[in-house]
Symmetry: C2
Subunit: 409 residues, 2 copies
């Protein structure tokens, strides 16, 4: 059986950045990955611009204070000066307005006194250039301002608006098909009869795909019967990724591996030394990645977190951190009999002062999703470790970096 790290390496090698692009408006560009280089069609600022409301002056006029100046015109933002500022004069100017010819500084209105009858008294000195933004000082016309591959935040979107990109090319989100298998499954709107359970994996995977920046599509439930399964798998193989939950363990009704092989899926592994989630299948067909995940909800969730999310991030072209690892003091003795698998245990991680503690939550195994609702992360037990005493340092993974207890390693 391969290790978690080996399996992850195989998955990452097979994941390629999606080449399709979407053209989106600025109201839909947030957190998308830029698919084109962006060049400015203007100088920024486009002219010598006042950065304050006040008076455009000649700085040498302010050698002795207060200085009385004649106000020759008033330039609101959106208008431009028509008169040249000469010695002894000033133009009233608003933030963002072009600075008058002749003026070499702007005095903030707070540092002046309007005397009426076209005069202003300047109370404080300014130096040449004060409160003026020089044409092109931020960006020159023709300059490349953003590069393909950048994740768009509010500041990049602001620059796109400023340079005339009301639409922008971004990388398409990976399309992920989600398929549930199992004759025992019914949808959440049905009351399960004896022997049945409601399908939850598909909805959990759907949410995980959304959080990972992918575009999920739900293919429904397939009963454990070959024709039905074959049809749904064929449809799913047209996506960038196919996630199948259930049908991959050693049971006689687990048709998934054979149907995948029949469909020319190149299977890279069918088992990983991990608990929960050992019977996990990974394969590829062309550029499509296929994961066969265990039917148990917790196994499926953890397999997504460890293998599927990194693949989706790479396919999305998103290079931000997505695995929030750190160290915590174990709060309770841990023991296990067999140590040949890397184990993940749901934990409530908390921080008090500088100390971070991981408290394993009460957990009944890989079907017990209720336990996960009480957890904000996972405790990681490496292969060959069969006990960790309370008080020892251990490895933890947070589900979210916004968790108040998060402290990266």
């Amino acid at each position: 059986m391969i290790t978690v790290d080996m399996a992850l390496q195989i998955v990452i090698e097979k994941a390629d950045v999606i080449e399709r692009t979407d053209s989106v408006g600025l109201d839909s560009a947030n957190e998308r990955i830029l698919a084109e280089d962006i060049f400015s069609d203007i100088d920024i600022p486009p002219f010598n611009k006042s950065s304050m409301d006040g008076y455009a002056v000649i700085s040498e006029d302010l050698i002795s204070l207060p200085a009385g100046l004649e106000v020759i015109e008033e330039i609101p933002a959106g208008y431009f000066p028509t008169k040249k500022v000469a010695k002894g004069t000033a133009s009233k100017i608003m933030t963002g307005a072009p600075v008058s010819e002749g003026a070499d500084a702007v005095v903030m209105v707070e540092n002046t006194e309007d005397c009426g009858n076209g005069k202003v008294k300047i109370l404080y000195k300014v130096k040449k250039g004060d409160n003026i933004s020089i044409r092109g000082e931020d960006v020159k016309k023709g300059e490349k301002i953003l590069s393909r591959g950048v994740k768009l935040r509010c500041q990049e979107i602001s620059m796109l608006a400023t340079t005339g990109y009301h639409k922008v090319k971004v990388l398409s989100r990976p399309k992920v098909s989600i398929l549930a298998t199992g004759t025992e499954l019914v949808e959440p709107d049905r009351f399960p009869s004896f022997g049945q359970i409601r399908n939850s994996n598909s909805y959990s995977l759907f949410a995980q795909c959304q959080s990972a920046g992918a575009n999920p599509e739900y293919l429904g439930i397939s009963v454990d019967e070959e024709t039905n399964l074959r049809g749904k798998i064929k449809k799913g193989l047209d996506s960038d990724m196919l996630l199948i939950s259930g049908g991959v363990s050693m049971g006689d009704y687990d048709f998934v591996p054979s149907i995948l092989k029949e469909a020319d899926v190149d299977i890279a592994f069918e088992k990983v030394a991990i608990k929960p989630g050992k019977p996990v299948l990974f394969g590829t067909k062309g550029k499509t990645l296929i994961f066969g995940m265990p039917g148990n909800p917790v196994s499926t969730m953890i397999i997504f977190e460890l293998f599927v999310k990194p693949a989706l991030k790479k396919m999305s072209g998103d290079t931000a951190n997505y695995s929030f690892k750190g160290k915590a003091i174990l709060d309770k003795d841990f023991k296990r009999k067999r140590a040949e698998r890397q184990e993940y245990i749901p934990a409530a991680i908390n921080r008090s002062g500088g100390e971070i503690r991981a408290v394993p939550v009460d957990f009944h195994g890989s079907a017990d999703m209720m336990a996960l609702t009480k957890a904000n992360g996972l405790l990681l037990i490496p292969i060959a470790v069969d006990k960790i005493d309370a008080g020892e340092m251990c490895d933890v993974i947070w589900f979210s970096a916004a968790d108040p207890s998060y402290m990266p390693a």
Copy 2:
């Protein structure tokens, strides 16, 4: 002038959790805040369930190994047992299937050998209860499993599916109206003529609202003229929040404060001791929060980050951490003449080994959004601090907790 902390306290006090709710399907529930308590309509698991593919047995039958047992029936998942397991017999069972009456443990199929002719050889021992999940051990029927106020993650969505909630009540996102003011503004699809600039604030604010979990609506550009501005402000006051950029400084064309007062907006402050962003107005009308933000893009962005985002998080009922503060070693001497405002300087924060350094990016002031595209956070200079030498520790704020250099204080 009030301080940043005082201003934030005023804003937070005025922000109330939105009381409206939406009913959403599970495909739209991710990261929403639950608006109802959730109770289970079933025991989980709903019956004593096999957690492995294998054989349901009587554990006492396995005292001497290998043990040969007669296979009396085969129970796939979705079907249920019809025969009672008696001494010397076993039923073949799949993961998730109800365990046969009489059996007290399940042996994994990997630890057995099918002998053909209705016989199986068991190779390893199991204890009573092994590989069986007991009815109701995770959740009892009628039990409250999730509480109003919880932020839905994949695990909560899984539990909603399992307990029959195909739709769920969540808190509505705060509706935020965005209004740009300024005669000099044109939309991004226009080429600005002399004296004009493209509107970027509205798009930057739109993205920030989206990232904060709010529902933004763009009201367009209002020229600096009272009738137009009055109409758009009236419309915006129907939202949960109105964000106005521009029109709040001391210029003669800044009509925003007077129109707000005329519309019975209760203005809490009009200035904060902050740089950039000093002329920031905050007021309320009923439950609507109103921010009048400076026209400069960087000021507007930072005012959102520091004041608007915390208000939106509170209004959303979202209690996750959203302010990512820490410490870094300043990479370059910092000096300023006047120290009466708390100053925020765009910085590239990086981490190498255990050391976190903040490098202020080249920055031309509050219109220079280009500088912000090179920054992943802000350096914070407190009031009364007029210099920090390179090598000293300083306060920093990251824009994102997923930043690889993030290290919370």
